[in-house]
Amino acid sequence: MSMDIFEVKTESARRYAGRGGAFHLTTLLTYAALLLGVVVMFLPVLWMVFSSFKSLEEIYRIPPAFFPEKWIITNYTEAIEKFPFLRYLLNSVTVTVLATLLTLTINSMAAFALSKYNFRGRDTIFLIILGTLMVPLQVIMVPVYMVMARLELVNTLWGIIIPPSATPTGVFLLRQYMLTIPDELLEAARIDGAGEWRIFLQIVLPLARPALAVLTVFSIMWRWNDFLWPLIVINDPNLFTLQLGLARFRGELVTDWNYVLAMTVLTMLPITLVFAFLQRYLVSGIATTGLKG
């Protein structure tokens, strides 16, 4: 009890001694700067969200009001009717779900081999996998397209599902995690007669669940937001993802801003939900690997 009081005293004494008379001013400035940050980061987003609930007449009014005078949702309902929004949505969901499943499967298999076996070439293969991080799609666009054309993957959803699924980040993340799983567990299972495939499925995968969760969140984000792959691979408007569909509204002369705003808000909604509920996975993942696929 007396120790506690002592601790508290030294803590506050230290704080005041360190910051001197400027204590209140620094705190005030810190909060002021943070508040400014909040405004800069959120104002453009909120302006878009609020605008999407305004009527066209109100959107094009000068000077505009920040909040809608009358909240309407017809921008949303009409945008869904007028544009193939649901088609884009379906394509985006298909790509995101299948690519994430594929990424989890092949990345965890590779990570299992790299972390739980000794074999010739293991370290070389691991280095090559990490080395591919140095070759982003941006620098091999043209030859990639030619390979895709040869494999008849151009203008198919498989063309944006398969190629980016073997992420070096995912292999790295899962391998590091699987290294912490004790080899004795695997040996014991082998003695009990379990096959390698069963060891992978029933021992290693369940134990690697936290790392798999991080990779799932990452993969959903990468694939949902992906732009360059679809841009190169897809020409057929029926196969457009949401990002491609939205990117059609380029140039200054957009007339249907009310619909564009509504569709943009809908497109950022899933990522916002992922962010709101799964943020801790993202932050821990970034701490270990960075953000890139």
């Binding site: 360190g18 302006w47 140095m134």
Partner: protein, 291 residues
Amino acid sequence: MPSRRRLFYIPYLFLAPNLLVFVLFIIIPAIYNFYLSLFKTSFDKPPEFVGLDNFIYLFQRDDFFWRALSNLIVFVIGDVGLILILSLGIALLLNEDIRWRGFFRSVFFYPVLLSPVVVALIWRWFLNTQYGLLNNILRAFEIPPQPWLLRPDLAMLWVILVHVWATVGFFALILLAGLQAIPPVLYEAAVVDGATRWRSFWHITLPLLAPTIFVVLILSMIRAFEVFDHIYALTGGGPGTATMMIVQYIYRTGFEMNQFGLAAAASLVLFIIIFSLTLLQYWLGRLREAV
């Protein structure tokens, strides 16, 4: 164990699917890119071997390439400079003894998760000459509306600012992790010795954070050199070619003009830049470990 010997191929089987995708879609194209850069290709003629002519053309005669390169240099300097200053500032603020730290951290991080296309549309609406919020705020101060994305110099400025807005939270998070790894004992000792906060910053924070700052520097440079999506959706490289960067040059040359060979040569130039930056990071990382 004899049974283990029979199973030598097992790890290769587990690796196979992932490696197959890598080989097909990264390694083969990367090698093929070298080969392709030595050919002249066009719509109507079969590819013709031209040696290093594509590179000579790029650097000696191609005004578009020079335009893209000089745009990119301006962009990289502005983007990386702002990211370094702002991410450090944000990390220092978030490292303070503040309430609602989780909330503030989320605020800066949120745009990082938005897709480049969404980011571009948010800002195009915000910067819209007539109906955008920014010009209407300025109007209240009797400043006439500015065509933010339609004037070459302003467009370049906003391309940089929007890209910084969208990515700075990621780098701030890396620096925050670096700051939190500095032992608090050091600051306490400095306080005992009567050091001001400013002196603690210069003599403790900066030197100990230097490795992390360096990582941020290299990573943000690589990202800046690779930039494409944000700008493509924000200005399309315009007005004219005012915000066209190398990746867009490659895209345009390859996919709009079918000059695959020339595009491959330009890709190689970009690859060499990114490759050297990565080597530099690796090498300095090793150097630090050795010390």
